[in-house]
């Protein structure tokens, strides 16, 4: 049932060609500023995919994804800072000088290696998520308790990063746009273009990966946990394990997302771990359609684009619109836009208008993968 948003056959080929064409040509169509915004919002789509996996499929509403997002961003930024700090005194990033630090803190050391960094960007957030998740899930803390605890954890991480000037430059964060990669400034136009393509590629990869995760029985166990956890347990599955794994996966996705967002926005700071930002991630998924994966991507990109357009035009109104969106989507459109389209929404509308073209068959029947067996 999880692959109902892709139709098999020729139309999807055409769709893919269009998507690839758009991605490849985007840098020539869009002005640099807009391209950069689109790249950032695409990277946010990756964290939204993670939110969909844990909330849409497994029913765990995390309000702390910002932790893992920021951790990924910090990993990328630490590498870039080290990569371009050769000219500074002591060969360490400039900001250390402000606090009189002469020796690099120990945990910075491994970030000299690009290989380590590429792994750390997703592995560290995933490991932190796994640990945090295990401690919470083990005790069957779920529902709103889980949400509250993740929010508290978020605040704790925020406080920690905000207060540690001497270790990671505290509230100022780490800049990346003036650092070097492959001998060029990260903030330069050509690097940013490559980063856009990299982001688009990783969105597709993350989406395929997420689809693969929820495709078979593993995904069905997650849905089972969401709908009736005790039943899953009495069927012989250990929900704690499944929840920990999916929470770690979502954490890893958040880390990748945060790293991509950081290099495209030019800075990582504790602001990535504010309470509102993490809740916003949930609303992207809610509006797009939880449990649809594609909805998470569309929701993240469209809402953020709308946010930047509306904030430019009417700065005060965005908070009202966003607040209204939260209320509207849970009261009137719990399935989200994509869920509404795939579900009974448009058909109800059509039949209300007297032009129903559908008979009352089961919508997902013909798309179920289990039917394709011998």
């Amino acid at each position: 049932m999880n692959n109902f948003h892709t139709s098999k056959g020729r139309p999807s080929w055409i769709l893919w060609i269009v998507i690839i064409a758009v991605i490849v040509s985007a840098p020539t169509i869009l002005p640099v500023f807009r391209l950069n915004l689109l790249g950032r919002y695409l990277s946010l789509a990756i964290v939204a995919l993670g939110v969909d996996l844990i909330w849409g499929f497994t029913g765990l509403l995390s309000l702390g994804q910002g932790i893992f997002f920021a951790l990924g961003g910090y990993c990328a930024a630490m590498y870039l800072q080290l990569n371009s700090s050769g000219d500074f005194p002591n060969g360490i990033p400039e900001f250390f000088g402000l606090y009189g630090i002469k020796k690099l803190p120990f945990f910075w050391e491994p970030f000299h290696s690009s290989l380590f960094t590429v792994v750390a960007i997703w592995l560290i957030p995933a490991a932190v998520a796994a640990l945090l998740g295990f401690l919470v899930f083990r005790n069957r803390i779920k529902g709103v308790y889980f949400s509250i605890l993740t929010q508290a954890a978020l605040l704790v991480f925020f406080n920690f990063f905000n207060g540690q000037q001497k270790l990671i430059n505290g509230t100022n964060g780490l800049k990346t746009d003036v650092t070097l990669i492959f001998g060029q400034l990260v903030g330069s136009e050509s690097i940013q273009r490559w980063l856009f393509w990299l982001t688009a590629l990783l969105v597709i990869a993350a989406w395929s990966f997420s689809k693969w995760v929820v495709r078979g029985r593993f995904g069905n166990v997650l849905i089972g946990i969401r709908d009736d956890e005790p039943r899953v347990r009495f069927t012989g599955y250990n929900p704690t394990l499944f929840k920990t794994i999916i929470f770690a996966i979502a954490g890893g996705l958040a880390g990748i997302s945060g790293a991509l967002y950081t290099v495209q926005s030019g800075i990582v700071s504790p602001q990535f771990m504010t309470v509102p930002f993490s809740i916003e991630m949930v609303i992207w998924v809610a509006v797009g359609g939880r449990g649809t994966l594609l909805g998470a991507i569309l929701g993240a990109v469209i809402i953020n684009y709308a946010k930047s357009l509306i904030s430019e035009a009417l700065p005060a109104s965005w908070m009202f619109i966003q607040g209204g969106l939260f209320i509207l989507v849970v009261t009137a459109l719990p399935e989200g836009v994509l869920g509404w389209i795939q579900g009974s929404g448009p058909r109800n509308l059509l039949s209300r208008l007297g032009i129903s073209r559908y008979s009352a068959t089961y919508p997902k029947l013909e798309m179920n993968h289990n039917q394709e067996r011998d």
């Binding site: 049932m1 029985r217 166990v221 347990r233 009495f234 394990l241 997902k364």
Partner: protein, 251 residues
């Protein structure tokens, strides 16, 4: 050491000050079909909760195949071979009938194999067989949530059997079923006994008569008496607490 598959010894469970189970003793032989009855509040569901690890007793012990279950968590107990059907049918409503059964049949029930491997041929065959037992072949791809009440009950029983348990705990399988469905369920459970050990909890006297098994009567948290339906019905203590007190009944 023992010929019993399941043994409960002196189980006591307390909720606050209330003793839901009070020194309960019960033994089940391998292959047996057993029915447990008792008035409301006799502790029938709590008794299942203890076996499946949902509730921990303050006294006593539960042995399954000679091993204590008290230290085990629910999913471990399920993997040891105890399957449970809940009072109201609990199936995964957002999954198809096939997917529901695929979850029950899957082995090992560990995340990584489930992620990497899809349902294999042998499992497909078993699922098909299970669906034919409970007459749901035609509904294979239908979401379980849209089945009728009786079909959900059967799907849940099929899931139970799919887990290949040695012991099936079945809580009120015929609540809300039509007479015809009740009879079919009774035949199904009887056919399962022998190969499996089955413990049924119910109120429906016709159904229990049809099961034709040893009956255990629970009252106020302990076993009042045990025997076949005939004996039980003649037992004055049972008549007093359960089977009907005409003079005080609904009049």
């Amino acid at each position: 050491m023992t010929e019993f598959l399941l043994e409960l010894k002196g189980i006591t469970v307390k909720f606050g000050g209330f003793k839901a189970l009070d020194d309960l003793n019960l033994s089940l032989r391998t292959g047996e079909l057993r029915t447990v009855i008792g008035p409301n509040g006799a502790g029938k569901t709590t008794f299942l909760d203890v076996i499946t690890g949902k509730v921990k007793p303050i006294e006593g012990d539960v042995y399954f195949k000679g091993k204590s279950l008290l230290k085990q968590r629910e999913h471990r107990i399920a993997r040891l071979g105890i399957g449970r059907k809940f009072q109201s049918p609990r199936v995964f409503e957002k999954l198809s009938v096939f997917d529901n059964l695929a979850l029950a049949v899957a082995w090992p029930k560990k995340p990584i194999p489930l992620l990497l491997e899809s349902t294999n041929r042998a499992e497909h065959a078993r699922i098909d067989k299970l669906m034919s037992i409970v007459n749901l072949q035609a509904k294979s791809t239908v979401l379980a949530g849209s089945l009728s009440h009786g079909q959900k009950q059967w799907l849940e029983i099929a899931m139970l059997v799919g887990q290949k348990p040695d012991l099936l705990l079945v809580d009120e399988p015929v609540a809300g079923l039509t007479d015809e469905e009740t009879d079919l369920t009774a035949d199904l459970l009887k056919s399962l006994a022998g190969e499996n050990t089955v413990l049924v909890i119910d109120h429906d006297m016709d159904f229990i008569r049809r099961l034709d098994s040893t009956v255990t009567v629970l009252h106020q948290g302990h076993v009042l008496c045990e025997g076949d339906m005939e004996t039980i019905q003649k037992e004055p203590r049972v008549i007093e607490v359960y089977l009907g007190q005409p003079e005080e009944g609904i009049s």
